[in-house]
């Protein structure tokens, strides 16, 4: 297996099957209703819906950086505001996240191996380093969403002090 394919597999695995910790950020987000996803069960934490949009933004940002765009961004692009909390809007956000993810994986698989050693546009880190960050980012937020779901469905757990 080439290094490119190995990294692409890690990105796919981190998103879709949880890469051994066993909880997929995609699946846990899809297990939530629109109202659960829109809620802020822990007062100072982002909602699951915001996390889904954040993941979409970053998968797309990494793809654009692979194409040479430095992707300077504003806070409201890093953490976009969700649409009205309807089932259709939530499904659309999840479907877009899948599409953006798959486009990133396909883009990584098509990379020239030499691209890994180039610097991400305008950044101090390499493409190689950036790509390893994608599954770590998904796992990190996956762990958060699992807790948000638990708190959301509990009547006894603290939501903030």
């Amino acid at each position: 297996m080439s290094e490119i394919d190995r990294i692409a597999d890690q990105i796919a695995s981190g998103y879709r099957d949880g890469a051994w910790p066993g909880v997929s950020v995609r699946d846990v987000l899809r297990s939530l209703s629109a109202s659960e996803a829109a809620a802020h069960p822990v007062a100072s934490c982002h909602s699951a819906w915001e996390i889904a949009l954040h993941i979409s933004f970053w998968h797309d940002a990494v793809r654009r950086r692979l194409g040479g765009d430095p992707v300077d961004y504003r806070d409201d692009e890093d953490w976009p505001a969700p649409a009205e909390p309807t089932a259709a809007n939530w499904r659309a956000a999840l479907d877009r996240m899948d599409t953006v993810h798959q486009t990133l994986v396909d883009t990584v698989r098509a990379l020239d191996p030499e691209a890994l050693e180039r610097h991400s546009p305008g950044k101090s880190f390499t493409v190689y380093f950036m790509l390893h960050g994608v599954p770590q980012h998904d796992l990190y937020h996956g762990g958060q969403v699992v807790l948000l779901k638990k708190v959301s469905r509990s009547t006894s757990l603290p939501r903030s002090c």
Binding site: P21, H137, P158
Partner: protein
Amino acid sequence: MNIKDISTLYAYNRWANRRALGSVRPLDYNEFTRDLGTSHGSVRGTLVHTMWAEWVWLRRWHGESPKRIFDEGDFADLAAVAAYWRGLEDERQGFIARLTDERLDESITYENVKSERWTYTLGHMMQHVVNHSTYHRGQIVTLLRQLGHVPRKTDFLEFFDDPDESETSL
């Protein structure tokens, strides 16, 4: 999986663990040990579970199959957790320093705590450990927010921007 992958991931893991421990430092004992309903109960329970996983996998890489699971009660406070973790990290750094690409492709068979036998390549196991710790660090950030604290982020994007941070050493 090659040495460069592993070195990158474990540099991140070391940085992120220290940041996480630094964020936990302001908690009082009751907050540190309060059951917040996660799989591992409290902030302390989640930290000790994450550290235990890093320990048990390191033992497996050495050909051992320990059955012991850490009891969070054995770690009275954050200083005890941090001290154990620091020793574990140092041992693992020595292990990584002696690795080769060929060694990462070798398979290792071990028994888990239920005495079930499993075989994976060393590289896959080493990737798994960082993935597992990242997952739980995301949870620790959320638990700290449940307790009303403002933790520092430990995700990889932060590591992009501030990889040389040393202030979190414990």
